[in-house]
């Protein structure tokens, strides 16, 4: 879609000025709705705490500064430890999910076996429950297994709740890889596993990257509830729990809380931007007509 036309713009892509204006107004409205909380959060982090409760409220901070960002480390000396924990948990979850889901999605995409449809349906049903609903049974399970207050208590439920959607996502992607490639490899003497490793995996890699990103984001955002329930050791706490330190008995240190949140998210954002480079489409070009 080309909003600004030159003489080469095809007719189907040409818009009148008011259509262009309407499209941009729509984009702005949605993005504003989506991004306004982040914008305000950022502005809050720039303000001294005393200015936050002035009336009338003002969005643009006067004499704003990055003081709150350095203040985070005074109040929370092991801030980076929390960030590290968050990363460790999310990465472990992502790796575990990929290890389990890639072969599973391939099996669901390529083979048909008895009970396949009910299993897929069950996966879908499980992912309709949020982790919070199952906290009590999960707690008992973790206690029985002796996993409370370990990283495992946050990693294992994370993996379990992210597998269903990952399987569905990757299965759809893998179903689009032509079956002829499997047949050709079979004709060439390759075993099922060889074909999977040398033919299917490389072609599915953009799909796997998407699943990795989705899983990482999912693990990053859902660890709060598991960490809160299954872990009480400070050294294993992920960032969202660590941020509780800013909720004092009397007051909430909003500006430092926001600063910490932004600093904690930044590495994840950088990683996702990095992974995005691998999201190249059209990898199957030239495979079949």
């Amino acid at each position: 879609m080309a909003l600004f036309r030159d003489e080469n713009t095809p007719m189907i892509d040409r818009y009148r000025w008011w259509e262009v204006a309407g499209i941009y107004a729509g984009i702005f409205a949605f993005l504003f709705f989506l991004l306004a909380p982040f914008l305000e959060g950022f502005l809050v982090s720039l303000r001294p705490l005393s200015q936050l409760f002035t009336s009338p409220y003002r969005f643009i901070p006067e004499n704003g500064s990055f003081e709150a960002y350095s203040g985070v480390f005074e109040r929370l000396p092991n801030f980076w430890r929390f960030v590290f924990n968050s990363f460790l948990i999310s990465t472990a979850v992502t790796v575990a999910v990929l290890l389990l889901v890639v072969p599973a999605a391939y099996a669901f995409a390529r083979f048909s076996f008895r009970g396949m449809a009910p299993v897929l349906g069950a996966f879908l049903a499980v992912s309709m429950f949020s982790g919070a609903v199952l906290l009590i049974p999960l707690f008992r399970l973790m206690r029985t297994l002796g996993l409370l207050n370990t990283y495992w208590a946050m990693i294992i439920p994370g993996v379990a709740f992210l597998i269903p959607s990952a399987i569905w996502l990757l299965r759809t992607y893998m179903m689009r890889i032509p079956v002829e490639l499997n047949e050709a490899a079979y004709m060439d003497g390759a075993s099922q596993f060889y074909t999977f490793r040398r033919v299917i995996l490389p072609i599915a890699s953009p799909g796997i990257v998407v699943v990795a990103i989705m899983t990482f984001i999912g693990a990053y955002s859902q660890q709060f509830v598991f960490a809160l329930t299954f872990n009480s050791k400070t050294e294993y706490m992920p960032l969202p729990i660590g941020l509780f330190a800013f909720f004092g008995k009397q007051e909430v240190v909003w500006n430092q809380l926001m600063a910490a949140a932004f600093m904690g998210i930044a590495p994840a954002v950088i990683i996702i931007f990095f992974l995005q480079r691998y999201l190249v489409g059209g990898l199957t070009a030239g495979a079949v007509k």
């Binding site: 002829e180 490639l181 390759a190 030239g286 495979a287």
Partner: protein
């Protein structure tokens, strides 16, 4: 080596019978083409020979050994797919080398064999490119390269040219015939394109609804089709069929009445067919304007002027398919004007009510390609 026998081969999908008992012997080094309309079971038959489909009944025998339960590699077979099925993430070199890599061949051997295959297929300058950068014809050659690198005894081709445009198809046809001469391997080729079948085959197998309708050399199928199906399938435009009544049998052949005219056809007679209703077949290219032992007056509704030929289509009362005639050269024939289509009795085919042909008394030696000059 490379001798293949099919013994009463059957394939069913659920209750649906696709291949209903096929017997065929393919000799070493032969180029055999399976043709038939879509859904006739030709691709299924090929996939069973390849080992991609399980054989419901019967035996597939290669070089005297029953191979029903062997994987493709151990059958000594390679296959070229209609859709090429190239590995898109690998270079042309790696695509061709794939079967050798699977075998675990040493790098030295791989590069020698791949380069030899690339030379045969004129792909030397493309070895480092990915399939996505190649044209359709080049992709097809890579797919063939992957098949020949393992030097199998039998090659299977599943409609390999159907994705190419007409000009490229003609070129590839010639290249495949050359390749067959060069390698001397047995080739089995599936197509629905009868030009490919007629030009490349040593023998053609015509399949219809899961059965073999006829097996024979291309010109044999053209001149002596054994039944209505083969008569209608081989030849383009297809043979005209006219209702006929048998009026008598003599040593010279069968006398019939067709559209109010009497003709004596030189075909092998059978006893007890007097008065039976038969079908007379005449190919469009055997029709001449105005003259001949029989003349049928038709009104062509469409006339196609191709320069090289003039083709007319006319409705025949009482029949659904139209009557077609092909005249050589450019003729001044107009549509919706009556045209007298004449033909000779010697060019006619005759079929009984079951669609089985009366054998024509034609000398095949004069109609076949002379052998040995």
């Amino acid at each position: 080596m490379g001798q293949l026998s099919l013994k009463n081969v059957i394939k069913t999908f659920g209750k649906f019978e696709v291949v209903k008992g096929v017997n065929l012997d393919v000799g070493e080094g032969e180029f055999v083409v399976f043709v038939g309309p879509s859904g006739c079971g030709k691709s299924t038959l090929l996939r069973m020979i390849a080992g991609l489909e399980h054989t419901t009944g019967g035996d597939i025998v290669i070089d005297g050994k029953r191979v029903n339960d062997l994987p493709p590699v151990r059958r000594g077979i390679a296959m070229v797919f209609q859709s090429y099925a190239l590995y898109p993430h690998m270079t042309v070199f790696e695509n061709i080398a794939f079967p050798l890599r699977v075998e675990g061949a040493p790098a030295q051997v791989i590069s020698e064999k791949v380069e030899a295959a690339a030379k045969i297929l004129h792909l030397e300058s493309r070895l480092q490119q990915k399939p996505g950068m190649l044209s359709g014809g080049q992709r097809q050659r890579v797919a063939i390269g992957r098949a020949i690198v393992r030097a199998p005894e039998i090659f299977l081709f599943d409609e390999p040219l159907s994705n190419l445009d007409a000009a490229l198809r003609a070129d590839m046809r010639i290249e495949l015939t050359k390749l067959h001469k060069q390698l001397g391997a047995t080739m089995i080729y599936v197509t629905h394109d009868q030009i490919e079948a007629m030009t490349m085959a040593d023998r053609i197998v015509v399949l219809n609804a899961g059965y073999i309708a006829q097996v024979g050399a291309p010109l044999e199928l053209y001149h002596k089709p054994q039944n209505l199906f083969v008569a209608g399938f081989i030849g383009n435009p297809r043979m005209n069929f006219l209702p006929a009544i048998c009026t008598g049998v003599s040593d010279a052949g069968v006398e019939v009445e067709v559209m109010g005219q009497r003709l004596s056809l030189p075909v092998a007679p059978r006893p007890g067919i007097g008065g039976a209703s038969l079908t007379l077949g005449i190919r469009p290219e055997h029709i001449a304007p105005g003259t001949g032992e029989a003349v049928v007056r038709v009104i062509p509704s469409v006339v196609e002027h191709l320069g090289q030929q003039t083709i007319g289509y006319a409705a025949v009362p009482g029949r659904e398919d139209s009557f077609c005639f092909v005249l050589p050269g450019t003729r001044a024939i107009e549509d919706d004007k009556p045209f007298d289509a004449g033909f000779a009795a010697a060019d006619c085919h005759l079929f009984d009510a079951d669609g089985q042909a009366f054998e024509r008394r034609v000398d095949m030696t004069t109609l076949s390609v002379p052998v040995g000059g």
